[in-house]
């Protein structure tokens, strides 16, 4: 075996036997059977017939640029779908956190929601 702090001397370490098989190596990604996190079945919500007279919440996720982007989305609705009422909201904390108060407000006062922008 070479001394890692040694000086060049012309003496080299003996070659290790790299050809003999090794048995019983653990698979590092093996998971216990049937114990991964249970993900229950989730359902999408029924869709609206149309957006006329409806309230659509526009939620700015907080990623860079998304506040301006969602304002542009709101402007688009104003120009192209004036019958749709929009409510622009900005996430108060971060894009990764739950905000049940906002979700409850949307459930109570809104008919649909647009989230933007991810990434």
């Amino acid at each position: 075996m070479l001394d890692p702090g040694g000086q060049p001397s012309g003496i080299f370490g003996r070659r290790l036997d790299v050809d003999s098989p090794i048995f019983a190596i653990h698979d590092p990604e093996n998971q216990p059977r049937d114990t991964a996190e249970a993900l229950g079945k989730r359902k999408m919500a029924p869709r609206l017939d149309n957006l006329k007279g409806k309230t659509v919440y526009l939620v700015d996720t907080g990623f860079a640029g998304s506040a301006d982007f969602m304002e542009e989305v709101q402007n688009w609705f104003t120009r192209n779908r004036p019958s749709v009422k929009t409510e622009l909201r900005h996430k108060k904390t971060s894009m990764f956190t739950d905000e049940p108060e906002l979700w409850a407000e949307i459930k109570k006062s809104g008919d649909a929601v647009v989230f933007g922008v991810g990434g």
Partner: protein
């Protein structure tokens, strides 16, 4: 919103993340109706964003806002109503036998390592590692994912032992590694912003396993610090399912991910209560505290008044969370200024110095170092949690090798002249 609140939802995600959200749909069993503007949306002009909203989705070729309207009003298809989550295929406990060379290649090419050589987790080595705890090999330790949305994978004591072997650890390190695993926190959470993590050990276990909290504690000069920090990342890679570009999206990444600034606190030279005591634990409890952020900035600013001035002016990337890693000499200087409790300093910073310091509990101080220089390191790391090590330690105590492996320790100054405190 779709499932829990029953509100039709139209998510807009930049086109760079099409694959990402498709995988998310498969793992959650819900195929949301995404629309994709071009990437990036950040740091572009308002005119550009206007063009994105008025323009087409580059993936589908359809006008973006038409897609949004469609997503909210078009009735659900049968496929959307019956979409199911995909479970991962089961994996065998043991790999196919092969030569050492081929196995090292297998581990590397499958992305099971951090790129550095590992110790192959043979059954014999893993069994030996398992003697480092009294816990049963099939006991569930925790669940982890490097993402915030994908299925978290469970792991047992035996799986953590395999990781500890890979990292080059010995049985004496195993309880701290198990405590890290039990936290369920990955050291390298997936974010385009490239998260870094830090772990700090307190309590008696520091000395029992030979951790370094003095000179060079954050440098590669200590065996325990090296392998424990590495084990956290190997757990994150394998249990947290790191797949670059798929589940792991750090744009630049960070070299801190290799070792996670693994160190212990210098409780002996600190003039303050140990960090874990400040967080409600007993002094004789052994713990590991976890932090996460992005930025590490070292200062060597001389007199403490100058240091406080620098703290006052901190800006740049720093947000509301700060964790200062300070040499014991700095803590002593601060105490002389009246800060006999670091919380006083945190409160002063928040209330009087700088609006970037948001809440006192978000400003933390860790005392690390060898009193060679009054240096301090500023991080924007948030403190997340403290995991207790003791439940993972065998009833008979830490299991040491007959002759524990130790790297050379810092040379002590016999006459005390090299340390102000001595």
């Amino acid at each position: 919103m779709e499932d829990a609140y029953g509100v039709p939802t139209a998510p807009i995600v930049t086109a760079r993340f099409v694959d990402y959200v498709q995988r998310d749909s498969r793992s959650h069993g819900m195929s949301l109706r995404y629309s994709f503007p071009p990437y990036p949306v950040g740091w572009v002009s308002r005119e550009t964003l206007h063009g994105y909203v008025e323009g087409n989705d580059p993936i589908s070729g359809v006008p973006l806002m038409e897609e949004v309207i469609f997503a909210l009003t078009q009735p659900l298809t049968e496929a959307e109503k019956t979409y199911k989550a995909e479970k991962r295929p089961e994996r065998p406990r043991l790999l196919e036998p092969d030569t050492e060379t081929n196995l090292h290649r297998l581990f590397l090419e499958n992305g099971w390592t951090d790129g550095l050589p590992i110790v192959l987790p043979t059954e014999e080595r893993v069994e030996e590692m398992l003697t480092g705890t009294d816990r049963g090999p099939q006991e569930i330790v925790g669940m982890m994912s490097v993402t915030t949305h994908e299925e978290r994978l469970q792991y047992t004591v035996e799986r953590v032992a395999a990781i500890a072997v890979m990292a080059g650890a010995r049985q004496e390190h195993f309880p701290v590694i198990l405590a890290l695993g039990a936290s369920g926190r990955p050291s390298m959470p997936s974010s385009t912003s490239s998260f870094a993590s830090m772990m700090v050990v307190n309590g008696p276990v520091r000395d029992e396993i030979g951790m370094n909290y003095g000179l060079g504690a954050l440098s590669p000069v200590n065996y325990a610090n090296a392998v424990i920090g590495r084990a956290w990342t190997l757990m994150s890679i394998n249990f947290g399912d790191v797949r670059p570009g798929a589940t792991f999206t750090a744009s630049t990444g960070t070299t801190i991910n290799y070792n996670n600034m693994c160190c212990a606190e210098n409780e002996e030279l600190s003039v303050w209560e140990p960090f874990h005591v400040r967080k409600g634990f007993k002094r004789d409890e052994s713990t590991v505290s976890l932090f996460r952020g992005w930025t590490v900035l070292g200062f060597n600013t001389g007199p403490v008044q100058r240091m406080l001035e620098v703290m006052k002016s901190l800006s740049g990337p720093f947000g509301g969370a700060f964790t200062f890693v300070i040499d014991p000499l700095v803590a002593k200087s601060l105490k002389k200024e009246g800060y006999d409790d670091p919380m006083k300093l945190s409160e002063w910073l928040v209330n009087e110095m700088n609006p970037r310091f948001k809440r006192p509990e978000m400003v933390n101080f860790i005392v690390v170092g060898g009193e060679m220089n009054p240096v301090w390191v500023t991080t924007d790391f948030s403190y997340f949690q403290t995991a207790v090590v003791d439940p993972w330690i065998p009833a008979a105590g830490i299991r040491h090798d007959e002759k524990p492996l130790r790297m050379p320790e810092a040379v002590a100054c016999a006459d005390g002249s090299c340390g102000i405190s001595r």
